[in-house]
């Protein structure tokens, strides 16, 4: 039988547990020395831990009003969004690290995609539903625009890698996948929040958001712990067959 205040307990669990798991992520990054390759992601993880502690303290202090808490929440969220852009940049650098051609061509294309998404994000922030005159709702609308840009950028990165046949390293793929899940759910929740802003809906939307964060952190842990796959060698016969096919082809 569920306790009477189970929504509150669930909400607390979903708020605290991802941040505890983030400490695990930070420990794995330190142990595997991944901070050298992903400094921005490491900074983001540490920032999220500190931010959550600060917000938790603010939440429990009785003298802090709901509005003050909301301002603190959005202020920290904007820095978090900025760091997420840094993480996207970092994983794109990692993806194109081995190709001089792609370092120039693909990253130029990605910049074009980012520019386009920024325009879409700004348009959504300006024209999409929600009363922008209320400052806190304005914060939510800006977050929605940012989520749109980040989600689109990560998706473009994934599709680009598939199109070109680029191999991801496990940690980078995990970071992109986790962040992609988080930003896409964020986008949906921010959009719904402007329409369903009544007190009845807010707790459910918050639960969905924190639940997505838990999934995201679990993905990070899974991929950071997973070993890089060892390439399996092809048999000599297979290479021979392959060679003869190619010889025929080259004769054309």
């Amino acid at each position: 039988m569920l306790p009477m205040n189970w929504p509150r307990l669930l909400s607390l669990f979903l708020w605290i547990s991802p941040h505890l798991l983030l400490a695990v992520v930070a420990a794995i990054i330190c142990k595997r020395r991944l901070y050298r390759e992903f400094p921005c992601f490491f900074a983001y993880v540490l920032y999220e831990i500190v931010e959550s502690i600060m917000l938790f303290v603010l939440r429990t202090v009785p003298s802090v009003t709901g509005e003050q808490y909301a301002y603190a929440y959005y202020a920290t969220l904007f820095l978090s969004i900025a760091l997420r852009f840094g993480v996207s940049e970092e994983v794109s650098k990692d993806l194109f690290r081995e190709s001089m051609l792609l370092k120039v061509a693909a990253r130029r294309s990605l910049r074009c995609v980012t520019g386009f998404l920024l325009v879409v994000g700004v348009l959504i922030a300006v024209y999409a539903p929600g009363d922008i005159s209320v400052r806190l709702v304005a914060g939510s609308i800006v977050s929605r625009g940012a989520a749109m840009v980040q989600c689109g950028l990560l998706l473009a990165l994934l599709l680009f890698s598939r199109f070109l046949g680029l191999s991801w390293r496990r940690p980078a793929f995990g970071v992109v996948l986790g962040l992609g899940v988080l930003t896409s759910v964020d986008l949906a929740i921010y959009a719904l929040r402007t329409e369903f802003s009544s007190a009845v809906w807010v707790p459910y939307l918050n639960l969905a958001m924190t639940g997505a964060y838990l999934v995201c952190v679990s993905i990070w842990i899974g991929y950071l712990l997973a070993p890089e796959p060892q390439p399996a060698f092809v048999s000599r016969d297979e290479v021979e067959t392959w060679n003869s096919e190619l010889q025929q082809w080259i004769r054309h």
């Binding site: 539903p129 994934l158 070109l164």
Partner: protein, 209 residues
């Protein structure tokens, strides 16, 4: 109707035309919200698909060989040859020329698309070879993947070019990028890679993501 709007109407603070405008705005807002939710869910679906699909993905060398076999570079070169196109333009009626050009562009598009797919597979092989402990194979792997990426980007450009040819057949386009040359360079690198004198054949199948 929205209860807040109903209340304002009953209190006489809202005219019927204002009410209709408000209702229309409300409808637009709802549509925008659900569009964004739809986009977000689509993005989530693509992410999950890519993650699940990429988990057990391996480079199938048989498919690479098949892709090579299916592409006839001589035929492709003929289809995109500008001299050939000029000859057809001069000797056929405009309607007939447009129809023929569309068919040629469609056939060339299939070639370009297949070449692009083969390039993607080659890129994966090249990246796997880069991880080889044999420095010669690793160096060839770098060369192969660079050529494959270049070929992939070229095929993309070629596809756009050919699509324009299908949609606007009368337009005299510029010559196609050196797709055949790129393809041949990638194939030669692949050939060298296979011939590498290393004790164990060094080309590896790779998992991605």
């Amino acid at each position: 109707m929205d209860p807040a709007l109903m209340g304002r109407l009953m209190m006489g603070r809202l005219t019927i035309s204002q009410l209709m405008t408000d209702q229309a705005l409300l409808g637009q807002a709802l549509l925008a919200t659900w569009t964004l939710v739809g986009i977000a869910l689509l993005a989530l679906g693509i992410l999950v698909y890519v993650a699940l699909r990429g988990r057990n993905r391996r480079v199938d060398l048989t498919k690479v060989v098949e892709a090579f076999r299916s592409i006839d570079i001589a035929a492709f070169s003929n289809l995109v040859d500008s001299a050939e196109e000029a000859f057809l333009r001069n000797n056929l009626s405009p309607e007939k020329f447009r129809a023929i050009k569309r068919q040629r562009a469609r056939a060339a598009l299939i070639y370009a698309w297949e070449a692009g797919r083969a390039a993607t597979a080659l890129a994966r092989v090249g990246q796997a070879a880069q991880r080889s402990p044999d420095p010669a194979i690793a160096a060839s792997g770098v060369q192969l993947s660079e050529n494959a990426f270049r070929l992939r980007l070229q095929t993309l450009r070629a596809c756009f070019h050919l699509l324009t040819g299908i949609l606007l057949p009368s337009r005299q386009g510029r010559s196609l990028p050196h797709l055949a040359d790129q393809y041949e360079r990638a194939a030669q690198t692949l050939f060298r890679l296979g011939k590498s004198p290393s004790g164990a054949p060094g080309i590896a199948r790779s998992k991605t993501g």
